[in-house]
Structure formats: structure tokens, C-alpha cells
């Protein structure tokens, strides 16, 4: 079994990663570091070029996260998914069957969350497994 943590390099994700690493260490679980790399916006034009740019921007961040987990003695793996953050976690949930998801609550506040959607409430709504929301 394994734990999955949603990670995009932001402040909130840093908190979630720290909690996920210590939890995985205590439980003796492996850790999946999940990052959605699909460009926002469903218009198809120049989609791939935009996604390539995002993969290049995210790759060092998630590599650094993997190193942090391994330094803490946790066996970690990073997964980039061609989806938005919620879709990325859903894909990993289906294909890797993690024991638990760890996500940051986000620092954007209620109004922005209501307007633009927030990952944590959506995952609580959609997940088959327990979701740990890190404030």
C-alpha cells in the first residue's frame, strides 16, 4: 500500500508534503507525489507546447520533493498526469489504489475557492479512500 500526496510546489502543497512524508515514515508506507500538468483551459490549440512548458517547470519541483522524501527515509515516486490537479489525483486513485490521499487546503480563501474550485473539497467529495486535508 501507499499514500498519495497532491503536490504543485505551492505553499499549501509544501505543508501537505511535509505531513505526508512524516505519515508515510511512521506507517512504513511508500509515497506517491502527484502533480497535474494539463494546461488550464480546454481550447486545443498549442496545447502540447503549453503542457511541455508546464512539465519542464514542474519537473524540478517534484524531483526536489522526491529527494526530500528519500532524505527522510521514505520510498517516494513522482507521477505527472495529463490532467488538472483533481483529475490527476483521481487517475492515481484508480490506477494505484493508494491507502489515503493527502492534500493541502489551499491558501486562496473561501471566495476564490468558490469561484475557481478548490482541490481539497472536490477530493473529499470524489475520493473512494480517506482524504487528509492539511490546513
Amino acid at each position: 500500500m501507499t499514500l498519495a500526496v497532491g503536490y504543485d510546489g505551492g505553499d499549501s502543497a509544501q505543508g501537505a508534503l511535509a505531513v505526508a512524508i512524516s505519515l508515510a515514515k511512521d506507517l512504513g508506507e511508500t509515497l506517491l507525489i502527484v502533480c497535474g500538468v494539463a494546461p488550464a483551459g480546454n481550447v486545443g490549440e498549442e496545447y502540447t507546447a503549453t503542457e511541455d512548458a508546464l512539465v519542464e517547470a514542474f519537473a524540478p519541483m517534484v524531483s526536489e520533493a522526491v529527494v526530500r522524501a528519500q532524505d527522510a527515509g521514505v520510498d517516494a515516486e513522482a507521477i505527472l498526469v495529463d490532467a488538472d490537479p483533481v483529475g490527476a489525483l483521481e487517475t492515481v486513485m484508480e490506477e494505484r489504489k493508494p491507502r489515503m490521499l493527502v492534500v493541502g487546503y489551499g491558501s486562496s480563501g473561501r471566495i476564490r475557492a468558490a469561484l475557481f474550485g478548490a482541490v481539497a473539497p472536490k477530493m473529499v467529495d470524489r475520493s473512494d479512500v480517506p482524504v487528509l486535508v492539511v490546513p
Binding site: D8, G9, G10, G36, V37, A38, P39, A40, G41, N42, V43, G44, E45, E46, Y47, T48, A49, T50, D52, A53, L54, V55, A57, F58, A59, M61, V62, S63, V66, V67, Q70, A76, E77, A78, I79, L80, V81, D82, A83, D84, G87, A88, E90, T91, V92, E95, L115, F116, G117
Partner: protein, 510 residues
């Protein structure tokens, strides 16, 4: 959703990420598929922006001109379809033309596509603001240029911010918006036709004649200008044929959806043009020519009296929603050019927080605002001049795409009749039509007497001056990048890989 396993441990972290091909993105149904092409074309806005000027230019031949403009559009859409098939959603004109015809043509194509996106934003915001004000009965404010300009600039900034933070109207909401637009236009057409037929039209109204469908009926220099605006009216329609396997039932849905959206588009365009002629006639438009896009609002009130707001709402929604479908592709083309080192890498920066090309998106807004405010100040027929200049750029990059399609596929063209017609002859003929249109318009516009208000800049029609200015600006920028000698200039033309093309089109794929 595609799953990409990046790295198993830190030792492989530095390696280039491996990208396994993803499954189809969000699957869409038939109604959504129909609405995508319509949404990208923005029928209500296009009619509000173009119909007045077209009728003014060609009179009762307006329906015929709109019909004729669709022919090159249809042929070029075929090029988009086949290029997209071998290079699925990798890019548009910039990527394709570079691959088929080399960096010089590719650069100018990319410049044209990005500039059209940038320059239309001001017009969209202007129309969106004016029609919203008119809808609420604030007619005085709607004709106050400074007030409208201020609000339009705010609107551009807000819409850009929305694009930067990456939120987007869901496909479902866009579908609803599109349906509202079409229904509003159909109501307008129905009522206006009824009033026209029953003799309730204005004194200048004309009686329906088959001649209206003949674009050459008026046979003047105005024809090419009218056709050029017609191309602008259909701009974006190619996305209706670009759906491919994304739809839920890929064997028949895209084809049927593309056909239905085309029929709807032609019915609303021709229907509205005919209805306007039967209700108010060309003289009314000529008398109110100084109102530019507001003419459509006057006609809507004339047709639906107390319910004119339905059409105003449709136009406002269409214009405001279109800012997104215009800003996003323009910023992504800039990003794509930056990644291939065709323009400085600065423009290729992305925001990992929002997953958007943030830098190029803000630049789209900055240039759009400078352009919009500048043209409003120096031009008396700002909207018309901008749209005509834009149409020159659109015709240029559409023609380039048509030629690129045949060139890229050249080794496969003689392998099947279908391929020869749809991939070779069709797109090339469409390209030639557009080049002819471009040349005729340039000749016509070089005589200011043929311009919208007979105004002359440097002895030329204003739209031509704007067009030349934009091309010259692009050329200067291109030469600077060429002198910088970035890797982009070492890219060489290639041909399509036969393994990506189905056997029925001359390829070797099963």
C-alpha cells in the same frame, strides 16, 4: 487521462521526462460538439460587427457575399482537419507552416495568428460593453466613447486575469451560451422576416429576390472588401472540424456535429442578412453608418420592439465569452513560438500555480489595450478599419495553412482520389482564393475613395495602412530574431510521416 511516470527515484530525476501518449481528454457529446464550432465563431458578435459594414459595401448582395465567403473557409477547414490529424493538438498554423515550409513562413504565420487574436480583443470588449449598456437601456452611456473605452479596458483586464488564473467557463455553460445566442438570432430572424413579408418594414426595406444570393450581383470593388469581412465572420469555424476522437462516439459524432453546426451557422448568417434587408433595407444602414456596430442594436429594437434586449443579450454574451477563446490561443501561440526560440524565451514562461502561460497572456492584454485605445483615437471608423485589417491577416494565415497542408502531404497526394481532392486541391484552391482576395483588396484599398468613409492615410485606405504596419512590425521583429540566430532558424521543412495517415488517405497506418 494519460499517466506519466516521471521518475522512480532521485537518481533518474535529472532525466528528460518521458511522455506517454494520453487518452482522449474530456469526452464530449453531440450537442457540445455542435456548439464548439459555433462558439469559436461567435455568430452573434460576428453579425453585430460585420453585417452593417457588409450591407453598406455590397447592399442587397450581402447574403450572397456571406455565402461566397464560406467557400474558402470550408476549403481551409479541410487543411486544418488533415494537419491536425498528423499533429494532434500540437499546434496550429505556426507549428504546421514551420514544419511544411520552413522557419520564415512559419514565423510570419505565427505572428499573424497571434496578432489577429490580440487585435480582435479590443473590438470584442467594445461590443460587449456597448451591448450590455444598451441592454439595460443606458443608451446615452453606450454612445459615450470615452466611458465605453474605459469600461472596455477594464473588461479586457478582467478577462485576461481570468485567463491567467486559468479558470474557465465549463464546456456545459459555453454550450448553453451558444444555444441562447442561436435561439435569440432565430427569434430575430423569424420576427423580422414576418414583419418584412407583412409589409411592416421601414420605408427603405426591399423585396426578397434570388439575386441577393449572387455575390456578383453588385459587381464592384466593394465586393472584395465585403468578402474579406465575410472571412472574418466565419473566423474560428475550423474548430468545428477539429474535434477528432475527443467526442464520445468518434465514428459518426464529429462529422454529423460539424455538418449541423455549419448548417446552423449558414442559416443564422444568411437568415439575419436577409431579414435585415427585408425589415430596414440598405438605405437605413447607409444613413446610420456612423453608428458602426450599434446599427445592429437599432435593427434589433426595430424588429423585436420591446424584446430587442434578447438580441442585445446574445451579442453581449457572445462578445464577452469570445475574449477567452481568443486570448488563450493567442497567448499559447506566443508561448509555442518562444519555446521554439522564434521569439525570446521570456514569452514562454508559465505559472505553475495556475498552469497557464501567464507572461504571454499579460502581453496579449497590454498590446490589445494599446491597440484598441490607439485605433479609437486616430481612426474615425475604428471598428471597421480594425476588422478589415484583421481580415487581411486572417486571409494571409489561412492561405498559408492551405498551402502548407498540400506541401506537407505532397508525397501522399497522388495515392488516393479522396486525399488528392481534400488534402491537395481543396486547400490549395482555398489558399489561392484567399490570396486573390488579399491582392484585390490591397489594390482596392490603395485607393482611399473605396474605403469606408473615403478617408485617406498617406494616400492609402486606413485598413491597408494598418495591415502594412502590422506586417512590417512582424518583419522587423522577425529579422531581429534571425540576426540573433536562434536554433529556430535551423529548422528545415519536412514531409508528413506516412505511418500517421490512414491508408484511405494514402498513408500506411491501419
Amino acid at each position: 487521462m494519460g499517466l506519466t511516470v516521471l521518475m522512480a527515484d532521485a537518481n533518474t530525476a535529472a532525466k528528460e521526462p518521458e511522455v506517454t501518449p494520453g487518452l482522449a481528454a474530456n469526452s464530449i457529446g453531440f450537442v457540445d460538439a455542435v456548439s464548439i464550432g459555433l462558439n469559436a465563431t461567435s455568430p452573434a458578435y460576428s453579425l453585430a460587427a460585420c453585417l452593417g459594414p457588409i450591407v453598406l459595401l455590397v447592399g442587397v448582395a450581402a447574403p450572397g457575399v456571406l455565402l461566397a465567403s464560406f467557400v474558402p473557409m470550408l476549403l481551409i477547414a479541410s487543411a486544418f482537419l488533415f494537419l491536425n490529424r498528423v499533429d494532434p493538438d500540437c499546434g496550429t498554423t505556426f507549428s504546421w507552416v514551420t514544419r511544411a515550409m520552413g522557419p520564415w513562413f512559419g514565423w510570419m504565420g505565427g505572428w499573424a495568428i497571434a496578432m489577429t487574436g490580440v487585435l480582435v480583443v479590443g473590438s470584442l470588449a467594445d461590443v460587449g460593453v456597448r451591448f450590455t449598456l444598451l441592454m439595460f437601456g443606458l443608451d446615452d452611456l453606450a454612445s459615450n466613447d470615452v466611458f465605453v473605452m474605459g469600461l472596455a479596458v477594464v473588461l479586457i483586464l478582467v478577462m485576461t486575469w481570468i485567463c491567467v488564473v486559468g479558470t474557465e467557463l465549463s464546456g456545459r455553460i459555453q454550450t448553453v451560451f451558444t444555444l441562447i445566442q442561436v435561439v435569440a438570432l432565430l427569434i430575430f430572424i423569424g420576427v423580422a422576416l414576418y414583419k418584412g413579408v407583412s409589409g411592416q418594414g421601414l420605408p427603405g426595406a426591399v423585396t426578397l429576390s434570388l439575386d441577393w444570393l449572387n455575390p456578383f450581383a453588385q459587381g464592384t470593388a466593394a465586393l472584395t472588401a465585403g468578402l474579406l469581412l465575410g472571412v472574418f465572420a466565419y473566423w474560428g469555424w475550423e474548430s468545428a472540424v477539429n474535434l477528432n476522437e475527443e467526442t464520445t462516439d468518434s465514428s459518426s459524432t464529429p462529422g454529423r456535429a460539424a455538418i449541423l453546426s455549419t448548417v446552423i451557422l449558414l442559416v443564422t448568417y444568411l437568415g439575419t442578412a436577409i431579414a435585415v434587408l427585408m425589415l430596414v433595407g440598405p438605405t437605413f444602414l447607409a444613413d446610420n453608418a456612423d453608428q458602426e456596430e450599434m446599427v445592429f442594436a437599432l435593427i434589433a429594437d426595430e424588429a423585436l420592439t420591446g424584446f430587442g434586449w434578447i438580441v442585445l443579450l446574445a451579442v453581449a454574451m457572445s462578445a464577452i465569452a469570445s475574449t477567452q477563446t481568443t486570448i488563450i490561443p493567442a497567448s499559447r501561440t506566443a508561448l509555442s513560438m518562444a519555446r521554439r526560440t522564434a521569439i525570446p524565451a521570456y514569452f514562454g514562461q508559465v505559472s505553475t500555480k495556475h498552469r497557464t502561460p501567464a507572461v504571454s497572456t499579460w502581453w496579449v492584454a497590454i498590446i490589445a489595450i494599446v491597440w484598441y485605445v490607439g485605433v479609437r483615437f486616430i481612426s474615425e471608423n475604428a471598428l471597421f478599419d480594425s476588422l478589415t485589417a484583421l481580415s487581411l491577416l486572417i486571409a494571409f494565415y489561412y492561405a498559408l495553412t492551405g498551402f502548407a497542408c498540400a506541401i506537407y502531404y505532397r508525397k501522399l497526394l497522388t495515392k488516393s482520389v479522396k486525399g488528392f481532392v481534400l488534402i491537395g486541391v481543396g486547400p490549395v484552391f482555398g489558399g489561392i482564393l484567399l490570396v486573390w482576395l488579399l491582392v484585390m483588396s490591397v489594390i482596392s484599398m490603395s485607393n482611399p475613395a473605396n474605403s469606408y468613409g473615403g478617408i485617406s492615410w498617406f494616400g492609402l485606405g486606413p485598413p491597408l495602412v494598418i495591415g502594412i504596419f502590422l506586417f512590417a512590425l512582424g518583419a522587423i521583429f522577425m529579422i531581429i530574431m534571425r540576426v540573433a540566430n536562434t536554433p529556430f532558424w535551423k529548422e528545415r521543412p519536412t514531409v508528413v510521416d506516412p505511418a500517421l495517415v490512414p491508408a484511405s488517405d494514402g498513408g500506411t497506418a491501419s
